[in-house]
């Protein structure tokens, strides 16, 4: 193996690629060749680093210097200065706080310093298309350990002891789930990786598959060995072409190394794995729907029992886990259950990856130990609210999660605590909202999504959510009645208990939590016909303060509805009847005379 004095890691995650990281890689390559440094310095395209909004990201090792927003045109300078002369380029470094205006190193950036990267351990460090790099970071060591010295029952005991719980949403203890499938009789069993990731805005599974595909495959193999399965499926949404391509490469390489196929590592254990591209429906992420979809039927949930452990894919005993769940497995096998369970809370062990989005300064993927507070995630890692506005709420758990408030910021993140507050861990979506967000509008937004995604089987989920949505639409249009709130709540509770699968059962969460924590806002919409956050266009009123207006006519010229009247140098007036509330006038007014309420 060639030894290099320096590695330049360029992020090849979806976010950075769309920011131009492929050009950056090519440019580095060219520049290094030109300076005949290409035998000394290796350029590696890696998986996602998590801080996508600062991409394309480049990290230079051994120093660990972290550069953000690197463009093709910056490359010559970076090679010249950093690589050739050893002088890091502070211009491209991360801009920190006042005390530390420039943060040169990865580990010092608050975004990373509070994280604990286990599932994401290799993401951003290795070239996902190179199995050797995975192996160099203890890849396939867990599998070797398991195959050479552990019985299936010991593997399951180890998983149970680790306390790992399913990261796909429900948080079912993984070791326990494996033990059911292991106990199920049958000469044919399947293990399945759920990579459907249907939550809008979620990209943790994608990042793992793109950045470290081997860890998922290895996890599945360890599971297959423990449960007596010899075949696996990875159900990946077709919208993730890069993840699929990386998985294919990884499978081919593992096969070439004899790590997949017949008699793996010289043992009796054989395993093959297939990739199934999903049709992209949210409900196909539900396990029974997912299996129906693999079988070529319409992805629709069915009642359980029978549970997949007894009758799953093609009626054979099957075990399905989420990408992140599988990714944790090899690490648990290498480092031991005790190590894993030392992190987290009493009942929620280890770490969880969240997709931090919304109105925070630093959005991106974060992996944090369970038990961390929401405040730490949002303010320390996320850097607080964008434009220093006021924090209002955080929506946890994807479209069917719940909205929590200021009062919950110090709650420790665990399956139990979130459920107790009315939210869910879900797959780990965290959307931060500031004072300009209307909570009724938020509830409407999420409900619109789940309502469209219902498979159509249950009347509650199919029609009930539609009726709930209608009520929300009425309220945000200023046509709500106070009785609507009761109907809404009653219906929401029925949809929750009356639906067949998790989609219907959790769909009302955003409505129920906002009704619980932000009822005032609903009442303001209904009684005062006002949207306190100024977000519901139907309820806001634009007006011009005659004392401030200088009569420049800019607003009138920019009003698409031509409803602003006034002579030059005289105060202008908006005709609210005709106003379509587009906000153009407010934007263009040079003196801030336009106000909304």
């Amino acid at each position: 193996m060639q030894i290099y004095r320096s590695h330049i890691l360029v992020c090849g995650g979806t976010g950075c690629v769309s920011g131009g990281s492929k050009d950056v890689i090519d440019e580095f390559q060219k520049e290094l060749e030109r300076r005949k440094l290409d035998k000394e310095v290796l350029v590696v395209h890696t998986g996602c680093h998590g801080m996508c909004e600062l991409g394309p990201i480049v990290v230079v090792y051994p120093e660990g210097t972290f550069y953000c927003r690197v463009q093709k045109t910056d490359v010559a300078e970076l090679v010249e200065e950093h690589i050739y002369k050893g002088r890091p380029v502070s211009r491209l470094m991360y801009a920190g706080s006042e005390e530390m205006p420039v943060v040169p190193h990865y580990k010092e950036i608050p975004f990373y310093s509070k994280q604990e990267r286990i599932a994401l351990a290799n993401c951003g460090y290795i070239n996902p298309d190179n199995i050797d790099e995975y192996i160099a970071r203890r890849g396939y060591e867990g599998l070797g350990k398991v195959l050479s010295g552990m019985t299936p029952a010991q593997v399951i005991d180890e998983m149970k002891a680790s306390g790992l719980r399913g990261r796909g949403g429900a948080g079912f203890p993984t070791g326990l789930k494996w033990s059911f499938c292991a106990a199920s009789k049958g000469d044919k069993k399947y293990v399945i990786c759920n990579a459907d990731e249907g939550d809008p805005g979620a990209f943790m599974d994608r990042s793992i598959l793109e950045g470290d595909p081997h860890c998922v495959i290895e996890g599945m193999m360890i599971g297959a060995y423990a449960m007596g399965a010899d075949e696996g499926y990875i159900y990946c949404r077709a919208e993730y072409p890069l993840a699929i391509q990386r998985l294919k490469t990884a499978i081919a390489q593992a096969e070439e190394y004899g790590l997949l196929g017949q008699n793996i590592m010289g043992t009796d254990f054989s395993f093959t794995v297939h990739i199934k591209e999903g049709a992209g429906a949210f409900v196909c992420g539900e396990e029974t729907a997912l299996m129906a979809s693999i079988e070529g039927r319409r992805g629709m949930p069915r009642p359980r029992p029978p549970f997949p452990a007894n009758s799953g894919l093609w009626e054979k005993p099957s075990n399905i886990n989420n990408v992140e769940t599988w990714a944790n497995v090899p690490r648990i096998m290498v480092n031991g259950a005790e190590w894993y369970s030392s992190m987290g809370t009493d009942k929620s062990k280890g770490t969880k990856v969240f997709a931090l989005t919304g109105k925070v300064k630093h959005t991106g993927l974060v992996e944090v130990p369970m038990g961390i507070t929401l405040r730490e995630i949002i303010f320390d890692i996320g850097g607080g609210i964008l434009d220093d506005k006021k924090f209002k709420a955080v929506q946890i758990g994807g479209p069917s999660g719940g909205c929590l408030t200021e009062d919950h910021l110090d709650a420790k993140v665990s399956y139990e605590s979130l459920t107790a507050l009315g939210a869910i861990m879900g797959s780990g979506g965290l959307v931060v909202m500031d004072e300009t967000t209307c909570m009724v509008d938020v509830a409407k937004f999420f409900l619109t999504f789940v309502q469209k995604e219902s498979c159509g089987k249950c009347p509650f989920c199919r029609i009930g959510t539609k009726r709930m949505l209608e009520i929300l639409e009425r309220i945000t249009a200023g046509e709500g009645k106070m009785e609507d709130l009761d109907t809404l709540e009653q219906l929401a509770l029925m949809v929750r208990t009356g639906s067949l699968c998790g989609l219907g059962q959790t769909a009302p969460n955003p409505v129920l939590t906002t009704l619980k924590y932000f009822r005032d806002e609903y009442v303001a919409h209904i009684k005062d016909k006002k949207c306190p956050a100024g977000a519901c266009t139907a309820l806001v009123k634009y007006s011009i303060d005659p004392a401030v207006c200088i009569g420049c006519t800019k607003c009138a010229r920019n009003c698409p509805a031509s409803c602003i009247a006034g002579e030059v140098k005289k105060p202008h007036v908006i005709d609210s009847e005709k106003c379509i509330r587009c906000g153009n006038c407010k934007e263009v007014c040079p003196v801030g005379a336009v106000s909304v309420e």
């Binding site: 009642p303 219902s454 159509g456 249950c458 009347p459 199919r462 029609i463 539609k466 009356g498």
Partner: protein, 659 residues
């Protein structure tokens, strides 16, 4: 199976491991409302009407899918449950256009019935006035998606019972709809076999059959009679609905039965339309190119007069429909064979039956029953279709084959000279000419032992070798070569897995009571084409068209008596005397079906006016001829292929034995 004791609404109930709450409740007369559930179809727990509470849990359980457990305490009628059910009904009603007063199913509708039962006099939501497609593309079946509640019964029956897989859901959310062929209108579907099963199971006014709708709701009918469909040898059990003397709709009896309560398109549409066909009400005598009405006395005297000399010269024949009941066949046999001592007696399908019988003979001699109940196809794991076209021959058998293949994952091998009737679901498809068929059957039986197996046969061989319960379907065409029938049975014997009632063979007889005919009216040889007759007595049920072979013989005969319930052309043109007989809905008796049991046909509409039963007519005619009608010497079907030896005792025979 271990017994489970549980308490439902305070009543102690017993059930078995694996039973659902609904099953136990029903067995113990506890009523739980259901909507998507249907006996015999996979329970899917989608409508949520059957929710019940289990003590100690806040969760609601769907009774139709939840298994019982020991000591469970179930409540089915709490206030909370009633609220849920009412809410569901309201959501369904307001979700699409359920305006009962404009719906053809009002009164028959299960949704409406549940709403009334739950005292739903108003709906708390505004109606959505859905604007889904009203699919009128099929000439017989109407699908107004604006009334669909997505119970998925139609989809399930179409795939689980009919095996057509025409229907599925499309789209998601509120706009989810039932669709045919993944996005096609039903009338343009290539997979739909127009059996009407979907309409039969639809609880609402969504899928309806136009004829039935027009002629009245179930609740408008004066009576319902359970009987069988006499159109093909499957003999589907049906329920016939009668309104003002007409059969206005027929339905399969029970989705829970082996045949899934389905009917084929013939049964579905021919039977109810038959009461409207032109009847022959009184005897008629030919006068030139037309007929005149006659009294029974005059007509029968003329028949006797023409029959007597023909009998003496041996130029009298009788052609009897095998769609007749056992009892009718016995009467005909006793009249023509025992009383009149005629040897020229046969059924319309005589040649086909003789061919099969000939091929069966060596096995009959061994005392084994050479075939099995057709529904056993559903239990088999490999199906060999030999020169058959079941969709034409006996459509429900085609359903069995599709269901077994698609749902039961049986392997399907087709061997035919023409096109493959199961294109798309066949695992091995062999095209052979009639001449090559024997060699192929032998090669399959010998499993390649007899020499090199051609490449294309290997797949079929693998399938048969790997099968635990293979079954062979014999096309009617095969009866032309009895030797092939024997070889096919040899193959079934070699596969070595008979069913309890006989060899794993399903022969495609064409006439519905073929088995009943064998001992009675089927002749020993084909005399029909031998020479011209002076007198031919034809008994037709008017249910299927007469074949040209028989019509030609009628044209050549000097004097033809036709007994028929309907004025069927060209049959009636052949007649010199027409004698009316009761139609299928006016008769009762038994049929020996392909399903292996003897099924009862019942009178659906009592005969009117001048009609006489077949027994009476034949007795009177015998009297005119100066004879007394004898007791039938042979009983139909009881003695045909009664197993004397267990089917697994069957031995392979050499085809020479056939000769």
């Amino acid at each position: 199976m271990s017994e489970i004791t549980l308490v439902i609404d305070g009543v102690e109930c017993k059930g078995s491991q694996g039973d659902t709450i609904l099953q136990v409740a029903r067995a113990n007369d506890v009523y739980i409302p259901t909507l998507c559930f249907m006996d015999g179809l996979t329970p899917i727990g989608s409508c949520r009407m059957c929710v019940v509470e289990a003590e100690g849990s806040n969760k609601l359980l769907t009774a139709c899918t939840s298994p019982v457990t020991e000591g469970m305490k179930i409540l089915t009628k709490t206030d909370r449950l009633i609220q849920y059910r009412r809410q569901i009904l309201e959501l369904l009603f307001a979700g699409r256009n359920h305006f009962c007063m404009f719906c053809s199913q009002s009164g028959d509708c299960e949704l409406q019935r549940l709403a009334i039962e739950h005292g739903m006099d108003s709906v708390r939501y505004p109606f959505l006035y859905s604007d889904f497609h009203n699919d009128a593309s099929d000439p017989n079946i109407q699908v107004d998606h604006n009334r669909c509640i997505l119970c998925l019964r139609c989809i399930r029956v179409c795939s689980e019972k009919v095996g057509a897989h025409t229907l599925d859901l499309e789209k998601r959310g509120w706009g989810t709809t039932v669709t045919a062929d993944l996005g096609q209108q039903l009338g343009k579907s290539e997979t739909c076999v127009t059996c009407g099963a979907c309409a039969q199971v639809c609880p609402t006014g969504t899928i309806t059959l136009r004829d039935f709708v027009y002629r009245g709701r179930r609740t408008d009918c004066d009576s319902q009679v359970e009987t069988l469909c006499p159109l093909c040898p499957v003999g589907c059990k049906i329920k016939a609905y009668v309104r003002t003397g007409s059969v206005v709709r027929v339905e399969g009896l029970s989705t829970a039965s082996a045949d899934g309560g389905q009917l084929c398109s013939k049964g579905r549409w021919w039977l109810p339309s038959s009461t409207e066909r032109e009847r022959l009400a009184v005897p008629m005598i030919r006068e030139g190119s037309s007929f005149r009405e006659a009294s029974w006395d005059e007509a029968l005297s003329l028949v006797a007069e023409k029959m007597t000399p023909a009998l003496e010269s041996g130029k009298a024949g009788a052609l009897i429909s095998e769609i007749s009941t056992d009892e009718e066949l016995a009467v005909m046999s006793s009249f023509f064979r025992d009383t009149m001592k005629m040897d020229k007696v046969d059924g319309f399908y005589g040649n086909q039956l003789r061919g099969f019988v000939e091929g069966f003979k060596p096995f009959a001699r061994q005392g084994v029953r050479p075939f099995t109940g057709a529904h056993h196809i559903l239990e088999s794991d490999a199906i060999l279709v030999l020169d058959a076209d079941p969709q034409e021959e006996a459509p429900v058998v085609a359903s069995y084959i599709r269901v077994s293949t698609i749902i039961g994952r049986a392997k399907l091998v087709n061997v035919s000279s023409g096109k493959n009737p199961f294109e798309g679901i066949t695992d091995a498809d062999l095209r052979v000419s009639g001449k090559e068929m024997k060699a192929l059957l032998v090669a399959l039986r010998e499993g390649g032992a007899g020499g090199a197996v051609p490449e294309n046969v290997k797949g079929a061989l693998e399938i048969l070798k790997g099968a635990k319960k293979p079954i062979v379907v014999l096309g009617s065409n095969l009866a032309k070569t009895p030797e092939l029938v024997t070889e096919a049975l040899n193959l079934a014997v070699a596969c070595g897995a008979p069913f309890d009632d006989g060899l794993a063979v399903v022969p495609m007889f064409l006439a519905s009571n073929s088995l009943g005919a064998l001992n009675t009216v089927t002749g020993g040889k084909d005399w029909l084409s031998e020479g011209d007759l002076d007198f031919l007595y034809v008994h037709s049920t008017g249910m299927v068209d007469e074949d040209t072979h028989s019509l030609n013989a009628m044209t050549r005969a000097r004097f033809v008596v036709v007994q028929t319930p309907f004025m069927v052309h060209p049959l009636v043109q052949m007649a010199d005397v027409l004698l009316p007989v009761p139609a299928w809905f006016e008769r009762s008796g038994h049929y020996c079906t392909l399903e292996g049991d003897r099924r009862k046909m019942n009178v659906v509409v009592p005969p009117q006016g001048n009609l006489k039963g077949l027994g009476v007519i034949m007795k009177e005619l015998a009297a005119k001829l100066g004879r007394t009608l004898q007791e039938a010497s042979t009983a139909p079907c009881e003695n045909v292929y009664v197993a004397k030896a267990a089917p697994d005792k069957a031995q392979i025979v050499t085809t020479k034995e056939v000769r």
